[in-house]
Amino acid sequence: MLLGPESVSVLNPTGAAILDLCDGQRTVAEIVGELREEYDHVVGDEVRNFLARLVAKRCVELGDD
């Protein structure tokens, strides 16, 4: 479950697994790497698209480096 100011998003297990790894330290590439250790068929572009949508909604921020 992801709560925003005017929204409630019910995440599927995949989305929740991605967000769990967003800790302000890991890079997107590292997140994809860790997901690959855990799950089969992890598509990097799909993870990047999911995060890009959340960036547009200001739910996550991409760090500077």
């Binding site: 709560l3 100011p5 409630v8 960036v55 909604k57 200001r58 991409l62």
Partner: protein
């Protein structure tokens, strides 16, 4: 039965602003007898037990309640996401720090325009400078910031300036909400409803800004339903996702529903769960069984739920009719007539606006 995600807690209808587009009820004086702190705390606990995750603290001006910090603190202890919807009048740095410490998650500040004279004129009181100061304070305290600008005929031409203002204040979200015509806004509709060309210009500006500010500012643009072909899916359906508690303890499917001739439900008389599940008020328009034609046989009936019950009532006198905004509604002529008047070349836009008053509380 579905569970509500959100509770809109209208703590008070007292407000230092006098916006002519206010959606509060016209009979403000009937709401002076407000719930106490303890009663609100009970409501929040019942809401959490019912499944509510998000609490929107609104009004009127919620900061007019001296106990707003206490209410936020209780909500936070219950694990609710808390959203303060404020004019920012009363958001001093001391109050803001107390709210931060109490666990408030998000602040939404209303601003009426991008410059002082116009914003103060629409708000009916000097307020612009304090709003800007408060918006900066929200960012300094590291809260996410949403700016909300209600768009009307009076300010929609300033949309480029409004977008720049949101960017300069480092807001995370900008809600550009065309007026919905309830309460004081309905009374003032002839002066507030923008023309089609104004709306077209605004939409071009929003599209360009979304592209330019992607990833930096989320822009929410609420379309004016009078100009759309189909009605809005009001509240995602009657009694489906949200509920409202008014200052006097009335429980409603949406804040405008107080105007409907339906049985009342109140936290003074029943628990939120019983009201949500069993009350005649919440059952009245749930699902699709209540629908008349053309909704009943419409393939969009599960998409827009027949539109807004309150708008149907306010425009036709019957809450069970199709929302007249829908081009398929037999009452659609009411809406096209209002739109036609807003697009008359002779429309001066200078019609007299009735400001909403500041009700005094009894407590």
């Amino acid at each position: 039965m579905t569970r509500p995600f959100g509770l809109l807690a209208e703590l008070t209808y007292a407000c230092p602003l006098h916006c002519a587009y206010c959606s509060n009820p016209l009979n403000l004086a009937d709401y002076r007898d407000e719930l106490t702190t303890t009663q609100w705390q009970r409501v929040l606990t019942e809401a959490r037990d019912l499944g509510v995750l998000q609490l929107h603290l609104s009004g009127g001006e919620p900061l007019q309640r001296r106990d707003v910090v206490e209410i936020v603190s209780s909500a936070n202890e219950l694990g609710l996401y808390t959203n303060l919807i404020t004019s920012a009048l009363g958001l001093s740095s001391r109050r803001a720090e107390q709210l931060k410490a109490a666990g408030l998650d998000h602040v939404q500040i209303s601003i009426q325009a991008d410059e002082q004279a116009e914003s103060d004129r629409i708000a009916g009181t000097p307020s612009f400078e304090r709003k800007i100061t408060a918006a900066r304070l929200v960012r300094e305290l590291d809260w996410p910031l949403t700016l909300n600008v209600v768009l009307t005929r009076q300010n929609i031409n300033r949309i480029d300036g409004i977008l720049r203002m949101a960017e300069q204040l480092h807001a995370d979200r900008l809600e550009l909400a065309n007026t919905q015509y309830y309460g004081w806004a309905l009374r003032n509709r002839a002066a507030l409803l923008p023309s089609r060309s104004q709306l077209e210009r605004a939409e071009v500006a929003v599209r360009a800004a979304r592209e330019r500010l992607a990833g930096q500012l989320e822009i929410i643009y609420v379309i004016p339903d009078y100009y759309s072909q189909y009605p809005k899916p009001c509240m995602d359906g009657w009694g489906q996702r949200q509920l409202t508690v008014a200052p006097n303890g009335d429980v409603l499917p949406c804040p405008a529903a107080q105007a409907l001739p339906l049985p009342r439900a109140s936290v003074h008389e029943d628990s939120l769960a019983r009201i949500w599940e069993d009350s005649a008020l919440f059952q009245r328009f749930r699902g699709t069984a209540w629908m008349p034609d053309p909704c009943r046989s419409c393939e969009r009936r599960e998409l827009d739920f027949g539109g807004c019950r309150c708008q149907a009532f306010q425009l036709t006198g019957d809450a069970a009719r199709t929302d007249p905004v829908c081009h398929l509604s037999p009452d659609h002529g009411i809406v096209t007539e209002a739109v036609r008047a807003a697009n008359e070349p002779a429309h001066s836009g200078e019609a007299v606006l009735v400001p909403r008053p500041h009700p005094r509380r009894s407590a």
